[in-house]
């Protein structure tokens, strides 16, 4: 069965088992390997992507559930001009990643948080980020990096991300 949806602004149509999780479609069919497999049961957050701007676990999301939806992966987090998302720059400035395997998911959770809440409190950060395990234990740096991001910059970047709105797809 074929399913159509947008990934990072590009329309994609795939012909796969409708129950196949989005994670494996992104990785195997679309060759976007930045989104990671960690547990397969929505416990670790390594597979986090945005659907319509909201952070979800792609390892348990069947492809049939995203027909017509907008998906953003780590590869689509940069601005359209190719600049790093302010969080990606903050991740570098704070030297956040160690092994880096969880960081795509961490960044997708954090960017979804800031898009809806540009100045999150510690408890906002706790609730938005507790679904993402980091076995290297870089939670303190993740928290500092999130807090360091200029909320004005985030608000203006969110405006640029027009492809969350299906009517204004940029790259198709």
């Amino acid at each position: 069965m074929s399913t159509s949806f947008w990934v990072n602004g590009v329309q994609q149509t795939v012909d796969v088992d409708p129950s196949k999780p989005l994670l494996w479609v992104i990785r195997e069919q679309l060759a976007l390997t930045g989104t990671k497999f960690g547990c397969g049961i929505a416990q670790c957050g390594a597979c986090t992507v945005h659907i319509e701007g909201e952070a979800i676990r792609s390892c348990v999301t069947p492809i049939s559930a995203i027909e017509g939806k907008q998906v953003t992966t780590i590869e689509g987090l940069r601005s359209e001009s190719g600049d790093l998302h302010p969080l990606q720059q903050a991740w570098i400035d704070h030297q956040v990643p160690q092994c880096g395997y969880c960081q795509s998911g961490q960044l997708m959770s954090a960017s979804a948080l800031l898009a809806s809440n540009p100045s999150p409190s510690d408890s906002d950060i706790d609730s938005a980020m507790q679904g993402n395990i980091c076995r290297c234990g870089m939670y303190g740096r993740i928290r500092s990096a999130i807090k360091s991001v200029d909320s004005v910059a985030i608000a203006s970047q969110a405006d640029e991300k027009l492809f969350y709105d299906g009517a204004e797809v940029n790259h198709v």
Binding site: V16, D17, K20, P21, W24, E28, A31, L32, T33, G34, T35, K36, F37, G38, C39, G40, I41, Q43, C44, A46, T73, I74, E75, L77, R78, L84, Q88, W91, I92, Q95, V96, P97, Q98, C99, G100, Y101, C102, Q103, S104, L107, I125, D126, S127, M129, Q130, G131, N132, I133, C134, R135, C136, G137, M138, Y139, G140, R141, I142, R143
Partner: protein, 754 residues
């Protein structure tokens, strides 16, 4: 020559006819020509085995260690660049290929020939010999917190300084000036009197033909510009945009995917298989039985027991089909073993003391106990632990035309290559291993079992195969941090002075000094009994320190309490003659404001642990509310001798603490019916953002030999935590993990028996 001992002569085999014959044949000489040929395109611009200089004057440091997030590659690059006087902004890093020339000869000189002070005259010969030994043993291990302290100190600095010397010589020859007048700065050669300034690249060809020194002159630490300063890690930018390539991210034309399963009881083999349901799943290509293999390496035997793989056009299909296999595994005799049974066995083996081996004995402990005014005793336990790297085990392989190519993230590329070759019946020269970034390692990725599986599958399928372990397989087929019991007794005189420390634990591994204590206690008897179990052993971040740090630093707290002393003051009193230990303990107490009172329900605990050449002291603050423990704050101080990459060390300390905290709060692999019970992050939990304490790190540059960074942060968190819980509640926790311990129900003082 007075420093050269007879042992060194024998070891290096350079005594002939009563005189000294320096083993010229063993000296490494100029390796560039042979290496460059072996490296193909990758060997262009090689001027030293570990240094490339390209025409734009960009310098590439070749790093013989793997990256798993510990940041060692950047730190090693800093050490080479420092001695080379390179322009750090124009330095690239490249992981050395898995070939014998990049085996870890320095580890050989440092550990196999430990304690021998070689004169410079024979060092090239010793290093040449160790290169052969390391090559033969396929030593290319990243672990043991060794990268910086061993390879960095002995190899990278030597390569940088030797290359700089050759550059100076080449410039002096070309300019016809004395070599002593040729200075270096930021990848340039300078001769002030003749106003010359040329980039290193101008002399790369000449240097490539020269023979490097193995005993170059090193810089004075006071002149360091790169070492000891904060340099952003080179691997980080690719880790924020998804572009870093882990083994699972390799995609080859015509590639298929595989999932595997093994006997739940370790060592079982397949008796019966019904794969009809699995084969009927869409996309399934084949079901393949992978035979058992045993390989032997530096870490001991690794058994990769028989396994069944499903190969499909998608990993999702392969893993779905794995669950549909109906498998019957052979009985191996451990089917009734449980964790309770294992701990009962430990208890009786310790009590029996059969064939107890001593680690350390001093003074007269038995007479101290018989004449003691007071004796306390306690038994501690820790469970098995899995590693659960974020990246489940995976690898990609292509076996065709008598050659094998493997993409894998592992901690021992050269050893893995050898083991894969043995499994396939190939010459190692025909196996190319592309080591990828690891999504965590923690010791697990030094065991090659999954590499052997993927190589066999690729050979059978005749197409490139990507093998991915499910998280369930990753948790259940690990090589585990062992479960251990440790029994203590302490004897006091009538003034509550500590007279004797006695400790017997089960099953010794590495490092051998892990159960030893730094405290000046007159009589000590520390030893172990053997109590074999069928659960396979694996090195787990800090190895034996992970349990002994918890045991000894908890029991010393009990001892302090029994003596009616403050936990910090008591330790400090016993460290009067150990200034380095006392300094770090005092520092952590100051930073944490140890003596500042805490409100009701809160507690503070301290620990001190020396491991892998570094010292770490920690103070933990907790709040205990109705039996629930919240870890509020950790203050940690590390003395790594010299901090090569200060932020990298701080990051490792933070990381080691959270890794150890996960184990202390949640970590427990239980055994039922001979098999591991847990399977994924829901029942083998990890500390998450909302539970992570504030961690304050401090680094002491004491000037002692450079110590490790990857592991020393882990051992001290569990004891500091339980000591803080004791401080808050009066309840002593002697068994991890903490979440299995009912702090409401169990209020118990230290076990005073006499």
């Amino acid at each position: 020559m007075s420093k050269l001992t007879r042992r060194a002569f024998i070891t290096t085999g350079i005594v002939a006819g009563g005189g000294l014959v320096v083993g010229v044949a063993l000296r490494p000489g100029n390796q560039v020509k042979d290496l460059a040929a072996k490296l193909g395109d990758e060997g262009a611009n090689l001027v030293h085995a570990y240094v490339k200089i390209d025409s734009d004057n960009v310098i590439t440091a070749v790093i013989p260690h793997a990256e798993m997030g510990q940041g060692a590659q950047t730190a090693l690059g800093q050490m080479l660049a420092e001695e080379l006087d390179a322009d750090w902004d124009q330095v690239k890093l490249e992981e050395a290929p898995a070939i014998g020339e990049y085996a870890m000869y320095a580890a050989g000189r440092r550990y196999l020939l430990a304690g021998i002070d070689f004169p410079n005259l024979v060092i090239p010969t010793v290093d040449g010999m160790m290169m052969r030994v390391a090559d033969t043993l396929n030593m290319q291990i990243t672990g043991g917190s060794m990268s910086v302290r061993t390879t960095g100190t002995l190899v990278m600095r030597t390569a940088g300084a030797a290359t700089r010397q050759m550059l100076q010589q080449a410039a002096a020859d070309a300019w016809d000036v004395p070599v002593a007048e040729v200075l270096t700065e930021k990848s340039h050669l300078i001769h002030g009197a003749t106003n010359r300034r040329e980039p290193y690249a101008a002399f790369a060809t000449e240097v490539a033909a020269m023979t490097p020194s193995y005993t170059p002159t090193f810089k004075d630490a006071a002149d360091y510009k790169i070492v000891g300063t904060h340099k952003p890690r080179h691997d980080i930018p690719a880790k924020v945009d998804g572009s870093v390539k882990f083994a699972m991210d390799i995609q080859l034309p015509n590639m298929v995917y595989a999932s595997v399963v093994r006997s739940p009881v370790p060592g079982g083999s397949l008796v019966e298989i019904d794969d009809s349901a699995a084969r009927s799943i869409d996309g399934v290509i084949d079901v393949i039985v992978i035979p058992a293999t045993t390989v032997n390496n530096m870490l001991g035997d690794t058994l990769s027991s028989e396994s069944v793989a499903v190969v499909a056009d998608s990993y999702w299909s392969a893993n779905k089909a794995i669950k549909e296999l109906k498998l019957q595994w052979s009985e191996v005799g451990f089917e009734s073993v449980s964790s309770d049974g294992i701990f009962a066995q430990f208890n009786s083996d310790i009590s029996a003391g059969t064939e107890r081996q001593a680690d350390h004995v001093q003074g007269e402990s038995s007479s101290a106990f018989s004449s003691a005014a007071k004796v306390i005793d306690a038994d501690y336990h820790v469970p098995f632990l899995a590693h659960t790297c974020m990246e489940p085990l995976n690898a990609t392989a292509d076996v065709r035309d008598g050659r094998c190519e493997v993409w894998i993230g592992c901690q021992n590329p050269l050893g893995f290559r050898r083991d894969i070759a043995a499994t396939l019946g190939m010459d190692p020269e025909n196996v190319t291993l592309h080591n990828q970034s690891m999504g965590g390692g923690f010791g697990r990725k030094a065991r090659p079992d999954w590499a052997l599986q993927v190589a066999y599958l690729a050979k059978e399928v005749g197409r490139p195969v990507q093998l991915i372990w499910s998280r369930e397989e990753d948790v259940r087929q690990d090589f585990y941090r062992p479960a251990v019991q440790s029994r203590f007794r302490a004897a006091f005189d009538e003034q509550d002075n500590l007279l004797a420390w006695e400790n017997t634990y089960t099953n010794k591994n590495e490092p051998i000094e892990a159960p030893l204590i730094p405290y000046a206690i007159p009589a000590q008897d520390i030893g172990y009994v053997s109590s074999p179990v069928h659960i396979p052993f694996g090195a787990w971040r800090s190895v034996d320190h992970s349990q002994h740090g918890f045991f000894t630093e908890s029991f010393i707290d009990e001892v302090a309490n029994a003596a009616g002393k403050d936990a910090f003051e008591f330790r400090a009193d016993l460290l009067k003659d150990s200034p380095r230990h006392l300094a770090i303990l005092t520092r952590v107490a100051e930073e944490a404001q140890w003596s500042r009172p805490l409100p009701e329900g809160r507690g503070r605990g301290i620990s001190l642990q020396e491991s892998f050449g570094s010292l770490v002291a920690q103070v933990v603050e907790v709040t205990v509310t109705e039996g629930d423990v919240s870890v509020d704050r950790v203050v940690a101080v590390i003395d790594p001798g010299i901090a090569v990459a200060p932020d990298g060390i701080a990051a490792q300390l933070e990381s080691g603490i959270i890794y150890g905290l996960t184990a202390a709060l949640y970590g427990e692999i239980t055994i039922e019916n001979g098999a591991v019970v847990q399977s994924n992050f829901h029942d083998y939990q990890a500390v998450r953002m909302n539970e992570a304490p504030t961690i304050e790190t401090h680094v002491i540059n004491s000037g002692y030999d450079i110590g490790g960074a990857g592991e020393p942060g882990t051992p001290g968190i569990a004891p500091a935590l339980v000591n803080a819980v004791f401080n808050a509640t009066g309840t002593r926790v002697r068994q991890l993990p903490l979440n299995r311990f009912d702090l409401n129900a169990q209020v118990e003082e230290t076990g005073v028996v006499g």
